[in-house]
């Protein structure tokens, strides 16, 4: 390191090829403020629960920075540990932006409770997150966010976002590096896309299977299958699987191992 800052009289050289002099040509330097930290997340909502999941690997290029960097965050709740929180935010993309976004949303949900004396609803939190993202429309948070909770009717709620705040409530969503691998699997197994009732007609008269909310145990199995599949075929996904299961009783967190290769 010392060499980088050493003067020419020490014959150590600079990090660039030649020492700049007042007569040298103009040099172009660049700074790109974003990195892709890889990884994948997904969320599935059921009749009275929502499950959020994400792998815990953090990468830059072909390097693994860490095997345990969570992408799921509790929002609201009491104190720095967010005790009693009922909303979960998952962020995948640029981890630093994800952290900043989490901090901002968490602060605002806590301020809401402080000022109004009641916890924020999931739908209100969802719209607030959209505004936070759009506020940085021209220097965006480089993340795909998914927000999960239980709505005012006690049903599982799931909202997904693009980096500039466009959002939608959905039954399931995969985001991040392996989203293209996981999303069609979820279409097929959660929303029963391309499933038909046998013998209900010929060709397009076949009646499609109507998607009904799945039981919690089935969804947990699907999440594990989705991630073990993604780990096999995507190098940026692996190490650990962090799952948060949201019910009316609160949030249960699970950490399962994934392949580390």
């Amino acid at each position: 390191m010392a060499g980088m800052f050493a003067g020419p009289q020490e014959m150590m050289g600079y990090s660039f090829n030649t020492a700049p002099t007042s007569a040298s040509e103009p040099r172009q330097h660049s700074f790109y403020p974003y990195t892709d930290n890889g990884g994948s997340t997904l969320g599935i909502s059921g009749a009275d629960f929502t499950i959020m999941a994400g792998d815990t690997r953090s990468t830059s290029g072909y390097s693994i920075n860490s095997r345990h960097v969570p992408k799921l965050f509790l929002i609201g709740g009491e104190g720095p540990k967010n005790k009693g929180a009922r909303i979960v935010l998952s962020v995948v993309g640029f981890a630093a932006d994800g952290d900043a976004l989490k901090e901002k949303l968490d602060k605002e949900v806590k301020m809401y409770k402080y000022q109004h004396g009641k916890p924020m609803t999931v739908s209100a939190c969802a719209q607030r997150l959209s505004h936070i993202l759009y506020n940085k429309r021209f220097f965006p948070y480089y993340v795909h966010a998914i927000l999960g909770g239980i709505d005012e009717e006690g049903k599982g709620a799931l909202y997904s976002y693009d980096p500039v705040g466009s959002y939608e409530r959905e039954q399931c969503r995969a985001a991040g590096a392996a989203s293209s691998l996981i999303m069609p699997f979820l279409d097929n197994q959660v929303n029963f896309k391309n499933h038909h009732i046998p013998g209900s007609g010929e060709g397009h008269d076949l009646k499609p299977v109507v998607a009904t909310p799945l039981p919690k145990e089935t969804v947990i199995e699907l999440v594990r299958d989705a991630f073990t599949s993604a780990v096999e075929r995507h190098i940026e996904v692996g190490d650990g699987l962090q799952m948060m299961i949201l019910t009316k009783d609160g949030v249960e967190e699970q950490l399962l191992p994934l392949k580390k290769d």
Binding site: S180, P184, F185, D187, N188, N194, H195, G203, D225, S229
Partner: protein, 205 residues
């Protein structure tokens, strides 16, 4: 998006089952986002061995015709049908011949070995490197989606009917998440003395 591999779009997949193999493709032909045809199959029979070709449409025609010529010449000279393993090596050497000006195709082969009846599938890159897989091979613009589907649905020793359901669900759900593939599918189930070809309608959008 101007990669020669993704101008026309398309997807193909092959799977191994118990004493059977399956190969399937979508039917779309496009020019970037414009769909030109919704009946453009990408699987070609060479005797009872099947070849799926995705990539640049002009090269799909050229390569499939070139291989038809070569396989016909093989049959005349050898007086026997070509085995899937031999076809794999023929495809590989034909592609490597164009090492510095390749055909922009990603071929997939499926068949049963003539002598022992063992299932055989393999895939190639555009310059002929063979991928001998024991489970499944995917290719085309929906290859990411196909990897996710196949890795999630496939299991060892599927019978012909289960294999048909598995490969069909894998292909249809995969192409529904790819704008450049879809518009129905062809599925071949290859058994010892029977080949079943089915035409799937799928989403028409």
């Amino acid at each position: 998006m101007s990669s020669p591999f993704s101008i026309n779009g398309g997807a193909a997949v092959a799977m191994v089952g118990k004493d059977c193999v399956a190969i399937a493709c979508d039917l779309r032909l496009g020019l970037q986002s414009l769909t030109v045809s919704n009946n453009y199959p990408k699987i070609f029979p060479y005797g009872d061995v099947y070849l799926g070709l995705t990539g640049l449409a002009t090269d799909i025609s050229t390569v499939s015709d070139l291989l038809r010529y070569k396989v016909n010449m093989y049959r005349l000279r050898e007086e026997r049908a070509i085995s899937p393993q031999t076809l794999a090596n023929l495809v590989s050497s034909s592609l490597y011949e164009r090492r510095f000006g390749p055909y922009f195709v990603s071929p997939v082969i499926a068949g049963l070995n003539h002598k022992d009846g063992k299932p055989f599938i393999c895939g190639f890159d555009s310059i002929g490197c063979i991928d001998f897989a024991k489970d499944f091979i995917v290719s085309g613009t929906a290859s990411d989606q196909l990897f996710g589907m196949c890795e999630g649905l496939w299991e060892p020793d599927l019978g012909p009917d289960e294999l048909f359901e598995t490969i069909s669900q894998a292909l249809l759900s995969a192409v529904d998440r790819d704008a450049l593939s879809g518009w129905g599918a062809h599925v071949y189930i290859i058994e010892k003395d029977k080949v079943t070809k089915r035409l799937l309608k799928g989403r028409q959008d």
